[in-house]
């Protein structure tokens, strides 16, 4: 069995998930990366989307991230994203509804940074929730 390593998923107001994992697949602004145990220390900016964690007991956790960081240290790895959420906490319908609302606001000419960020967050949640359902 592959070596496992400590992973924390932290949002601004809580610890979303913590545990042992064998692999993380995340989408950085440069593209998809896979992290295995013993990866060199890395700090990467994440693109809005989902990150997957393969836990050491063979489960898969999908996390919705609307930006933030992947920080790989010597002894532990963290996914840092202010609004990180586990896909299992999300419902596809709700996420899609949010996305539609934001899109409607953007179609009405609302181009504020706030709306853009809400859009990123909604897209990330839809992606993560859909991905989680395709287990």
């Amino acid at each position: 069995m592959a070596a496992s390593f400590q992973v924390d998923v932290v949002a601004a107001d809580r610890m979303v998930w913590t545990g042992q994992a064998v692999e993380i697949i995340a989408v950085t602004t440069d593209g998809e990366v896979g992290i295995l145990a013993g990866h060199i220390p890395l700090i990467a900016t994440l693109a809005p989307g989902s990150a997957e964690i393969m836990t050491d007991d063979g489960r898969r956790e999908v996390v919705a991230v609307e930006g933030g960081f992947l920080s790989v240290g010597v002894d532990r790895t963290a996914i840092i994203s202010p609004y990180a959420q586990l896909a299992s906490e999300l419902s596809v319908d709700q996420a899609q509804k949010d996305l539609r609302e934001v899109q409607a606001a953007m179609d009405d000419g609302d181009n504020s940074i706030e709306t853009l960020r809400r859009y990123h967050r909604a897209t990330a949640q839809v992606k993560a929730a859909t991905r989680n359902n395709h287990d």
Binding site: D13, R14, T28, I40, P41, A78, P82
Partner: protein, 300 residues
Amino acid sequence: MVASLRELRERNRSVSATQKITRAMELVAASRIAKAQQAAEASLPYTQELNHAVQAVVGHTDLRHPLLTETDQPRRSAVLILTSDRGLAGAYSSNVLRLAERLCQTLTDEGREYLPYVCGRKGITYYEFRRRPLAGSWDGFSDKPTYTQSDQVASALLDAFRKPYEDGGVDEIQVVYTRFVSMLSQETRVRRILPLEVIEDDGPHHADSMYEFEPSAEAVLDALLPLYVRNRVHFYLMQAAASELASKEKAMKSATDNAQQLIEDLTRLTNQARQAKITQEITEIVGGAAALSGAKTKME
């Protein structure tokens, strides 16, 4: 003049009712502080990870970033003032406002402009009553700020900081808030939010490991610093919320104690008045009986 017995009883009842309310508010505030502290603890891992990441990047770049560069001559400052939404918290909001006034005075004396940004209805009404314009105002979450709300406040501040001076931007952002030292002591203070001062301390994570950055150290710093600022703002708001609740608890506790004192005094007065009334009645009866028996003797 001694008030009538009925009046005294009425007053006693009304004070008791008030005491019930203040006691309830005291208990509510106390339980909310516990929640505020839990929220503060829950956000600790995020803060640590951010600090850790910032320190890792700081070791790799020459730290030239708009959010870090100090201007020699700041011309305009934004002042974020954190007050409460509701009163009944002792001098909490007025202490903050007084310190803010002093800060603004200092800024004006130094020939700088300032833009007030206010959180909390108390502060907003203070400014509106004096017809002083606000650059930004938020209310409704002074006692339990969520990250989303702090985020909005921080976004407004970051926008102002990024704008050039000519377009109404600011060179510096200060915050006036109340630090939660303990349940018994809170301290109003002024802190600078921007430009950032990155504190380098050797925490549990040493920056000895060589990090790689994706896409680049500069890009990571670009994305990281705004998050850092937002987190600072959230931290100040949480501190202010805990302080507000602590002041409220203290204020309500003394109100309850005062009400208790009043009730005791009123009860004493009521008893006195009742005794006096009874004594008077007896005197009247005895007097009446004596008068009657006196008349009888005369007739015989």
